[in-house]
């Protein structure tokens, strides 16, 4: 066993509980380590047909004709459809889910194009056949005539005069109004605080840097999959791998033009999402094929389809300018952020604008954000969407300012850190937050002061902020006669959340975590629950579970009142014991009361539903040591410590897991992940061979420190933890590379070629000869 002189996983707990804060085995664990858990592609329906999609080979083209006759004639094919098989969209028709309200025409065209294809992989037709291999063969027999158009591949290119226009109905919304004229800029967002000109005039040191980041993908190991059955009674049954059952139900119902009560979605276990499994892709297609054939239809995407045609995070251009006084106070900040929305509007540029300067108290700021359509797949959320791009830039500039001031990077951040009462540039006042505490914990960690000796080595730090989400969740608790309970909820368990929900319920009921049995159920079986994401499950669904448990407790108090023949106001329940406030003889345990349910009115069912306020924003910080090979530009991660404020770590192991996993995704984004686009706007590396995510051999252990600054808005003080850990790593790694090699990188990924080119450019520009190591 690797041993260290320090504890690699620390919890700075601020309150202890009976169950919350412990580390029970997750309830779904045995199924998942034995291969019994059923994921999306494991679902088996009798009589199922396999669906495969024909996808555009071009990144931008008009569809002139589609001929499906040869495909229809192939033996084994049961149906072939095109976009014309979707319901017709009136100009004002819309589709709504928790992501918002969108033009139905656009949503349907995204599902299957009839007029234009806007990215390589955009679906144009689909086949249902008796085997996936026959379906594949049939797809290759569909003939489509395209008029190829020049593609737009970056946001800046899309914004330039004379750029090819993707949509003739996209208008720039700005300040709530639509500006006239054809454009690729779907939105211009602006936030202002104070006056930046005044601010910069006060600054003694100003740094302005530009960054370009490549498109990256969530990279969940399980591709999208679904099985859909449109029954003769009009009911549509969906089983899929998804993180947002109600959202996908609602969106699919809208796309199909059926009432959402006719659609039931059963979420299977999910093999990763990170925001990329929140919207329907193939579900409506499979539904229409099912209606046509009268049979269930199943589809699992290939890895190439997943990379090319689902929802990566935008590529971006970010420019950040910040000014400080010689005393080390940040007095002005300005940001220009342009995001590649992909083929349809809706990138997370607004969130990027909200986060870019959020960790700091800045009097004067101006932030401009642009949502630009380009010929790439329509972007989707990826773990703190928008924040990583923005805070790469701001944290690199902060690092440079600290260096110019001669200040320690953490001390400089502490002197300007956001606190309770700080007003964010986009308006909200911070409630109690843990920014300072995270910085202090970083400063105090042995990693920060450990010697780092040797050439080409450097240590970098960065912090990150993410807004987190509240949103609606529901939960039901059914008490069993033997004093156990089942917890029914609708939040797909992507990272071990069901055990955290069970623990919050167990804590409130006063019974062990093992005695609460959590189940993730379909959309007909639980109250409305927004998807698993936004760092909200442990927070919001946990709160709903807590409310359901409180409801159970109050019913138990009522039953006790019945049994003891006293008023319920004189009874209290605490830590699983119901007792009379005045008579110490009158008490019973949860288990004893459960045993008496039959005689006191029957089953006890508790419910909880919530749309919470009091969401606590999340802060994280990374300390990373790297070694760069000065001859190849390859960066090795020597040591990493991620510090994060969790408010309250319900199950510390799974909080650590989120921190470690997010850190490693951030490292992959920093070093090697990118969509290589050819000159026709097509992704050249749609495999896990060349879309290079970190492997076990690329990394050391990822040490963790959980800080607990209780979120006053939650019964246990929970702050969502799932997203923010991905935010600091790119900037922290960039800052470490600077210290190792003397170059400030201005792009992601910072792959070996990019690093060598930066090193060579530096050598040529400052006229220095190359060090002898490379002669």
């Amino acid at each position: 066993m690797t041993t260290t002189a320090y504890d690699p996983n620390v919890v700075l707990a601020t309150k202890t509980y009976d169950v919350v804060g412990t580390r029970p085995i997750r309830h779904d664990g045995a199924d998942k380590v034995t291969g019994r858990a059923q994921y999306g592609a494991d679902f088996r329906a009798s009589g199922v047909l396999a669906a495969k999609l024909l996808r555009s080979p071009h990144s931008h083209a008009r569809i002139k004709s589609v001929d499906i006759s040869k495909a229809e004639a192939l033996e084994g094919v049961r149906a072939v459809i095109t976009g014309k098989d979707f319901p017709e969209s009136g100009p004002d028709d819309t589709v709504t889910s928790s992501l918002g309200t969108f033009k139905a025409k656009r949503v349907r065209e995204h599902c299957m194009a009839t007029e234009k294809v806007l990215y390589r992989g955009h679906p144009v037709a689909a086949v249902a056949a008796v085997s996936p291999h026959i379906a594949d063969e049939a797809v290759s027999l569909i003939e489509v005539e395209y008029a190829v158009l020049p593609p737009v591949t970056t946001a800046l290119q899309g914004m330039a005069d004379g750029a090819p226009i993707l949509h003739d109905d996209v208008r720039t919304t700005e300040g709530g109004e639509e500006k006239p004229g054809n454009t690729n800029v779907a939105a211009h967002i602006q936030y202002k605080k104070g006056d930046v000109e005044t601010g910069f005039a006060k600054a003694d040191i100003i740094v302005e840097r530009e960054f370009n980041t490549a498109t990256v993908h969530q990279g969940y190991i399980e591709p999208h999959s679904c099985t859909v059955f449109w029954n003769k009674d009009g009911k549509v049954d969906i089983w899929n791998s998804s993180q947002a059952p109600f959202d996908i139900r609602d969106a699919t119902a809208g796309i199909l033009g059926v009432p959402l009560s006719d659609v039931k979605l059963t979420p299977m276990e999910i093999g990763g999402g990170f925001g990329g499994k929140w919207e329907p892709y193939v579900e409506p297609v499979a539904a229409i094929l099912s209606k046509k054939t009268g049979r269930p239809v199943a589809n699992a995407m290939t890895r190439a389809e997943d990379l090319e045609a689902t929802g990566p995070t935008p590529g971006s251009y970010v420019k950040v300018k910040m000014g400080v006084t010689n005393e080390g106070k940040i007095v002005a900040g300005q940001a220009y952020i342009a995001f590649e929305a992909g083929g349809y509007p809706g990138s997370p540029v607004d969130a990027a604008c909200q986060c870019v300067f959020a960790p700091y108290e800045i009097e004067n700021a101006l932030i401009d954000g642009y949502d630009v359509v380009v010929n790439k797949p329509k972007s989707a959320a990826y773990r703190a969407p928008g924040a990583t791009h923005a805070e790469l830039a701001s944290e690199a500039v902060v690092d440079e300012l600290a260096e110019k001031l001669g200040l320690d990077p953490i001390e400089f951040r502490l002197a300007n850190a956001a606190k309770e009462g700080t007003r964010r540039v986009d308006g909200p006042l911070f409630p109690r937050i843990g920014c300072v505490e995270v910085l202090e914990a970083m400063k105090n960690h042995p990693h920060y002061t450990a010697p780092l000796e040797g050439p080409n080595r450097g240590r970098g730090v960065a912090i990150g902020f993410w807004v987190n989400a509240g949103l609606q969740s529901s939960a039901t608790i059914n008490v069993n006669k033997n004093g156990t309970a089942s917890l029914i909820e609708g939040s797909p368990d992507i990272g071990g959340s069901r055990v955290g929900l069970a623990m919050q319920a167990a804590e409130t009921l006063g019974i062990p975590a093992e005695d609460v049995h959590p189940a993730v159920v379909d959309t007909n079986s639980i109250g409305f629950t927004v998807g698993t994401g936004g760092s909200r499950v442990t927070f919001a669904t946990g709160w709903a579970s807590y409310l359901a448990a409180e409801d159970v407790n109050s019913q138990m108090v009522e039953r006790a009142a019945m049994i003891w023949e006293i008023d319920k106001s004189s009874i209290e329940m605490d830590r699983g014991v119901i007792k009379s406030k005045s008579d110490p003889e009158l008490k019973m345990t949860f288990k004893e009361m459960a045993d008496q349910m039959d005689d006191t009115g029957g089953a006890i069912v508790g419910k909880g539903t919530i749309d919470p306020t009091g969401v606590g924003g999340a802060f994280a910080g990374l300390i990373v040591d790297i070694e760069a090979d000065p001859e190849t530009g390859k960066v090795s991660i020597l040591r990493a410590t991620i510090v994060q404020d969790a408010g309250k770590a319900i199950h510390p192991s799974y909080v650590e897991g989120q921190m470690q996993g997010g850190t490693v995704q951030g490292i992959g984004w920093a070093l090697n992940e990118e969509y290589f686009m050819d000159d026709q706007g097509r992704m050249a590396n749609a495999t896990f061979l060349d879309y290079r995510m970190p492997i076990a051999l690329d990394l050391p252990m990822i040490d963790t420190v959980i800080v607990e600054v209780a979120n006053p808005g939650h019964p246990f003080g929970v702050r969502g933890v799932g997203e923010v850990p991905i935010v600091p790593p790119p900037a922290a790694v960039a800052n470490a590379i600077y210290r190792a090699l003397g170059v400030r990188m201005d792009r992601l990924p910072m792959n070996p070629v990019a690093i060598m080119e930066a090193v060579w450019a530096k050598g040529r520009s400052d006229g220095s000869s190359l060090p002898s190591a490379w002669a």
Partner: protein, 156 residues
């Protein structure tokens, strides 16, 4: 109808036979023909290890083995790792160390780790990381997986 081959093999200690087309991979046969869905498809081209099975004593990507090649072989899938008596120490270690989040990569990691620990009872951290280089995980960052394998090594 394409002609199918009759394959006779042994899976998880049991004689199994099935029909398959030559173009169907062992992974597809396990999942869709034999009904063992524990091995997963993540990439179908040998780059993620989610389909890892033990094939005649060696771990392989079952997406890169054809179903017909299983004739006469001894195959172990995730479904064969636990015994009637209980979970394998590696499975238990994964649970105790919280070495899984979404769990999709877990079957591949368990089958791969089992082969390692049976051949090398006390591997170093770097040896574990090298052995598992062909298994991608996107959720955990590998830390707890490596700790679980080291933990299991001490208990086997």
């Amino acid at each position: 109808m394409p002609t199918k081959t009759h394959v006779q093999t042994r899976i998880n200690g049991e004689d199994v036979d099935f029909l398959c087309e030559p173009r169907q991979s062992l992974l597809e046969c396990l999942r869709d023909v034999v009904g063992l869905t524990g091995s997963k498809e993540g990439c179908n081209d040998g780059n993620c290890g989610a389909c890892t099975v033990n094939h005649d004593g060696r771990i392989v990507d079952s997406c890169l083995v054809l179903g017909v090649e299983a004739e006469g072989k001894e195959i172990l899938t995730i479904e064969g790792v636990a015994s009637p008596e209980g979970l394998h120490p590696i499975q238990q270690a994964f649970l105790e160390n919280a070495a899984l989040q979404c769990g999709i990569c877990t079957p591949g990691f368990i089958v791969a780790s089992k082969a390692l620990l049976e051949a090398e009872p006390n591997p170093s951290e770097q040896r574990i990381r090298l052995w598992l280089a062909g298994n991608l995980c996107r959720c955990t960052g590998y830390d707890k997986i490596v700790r679980a394998v080291m933990d299991a090594a001490g208990k086997m």
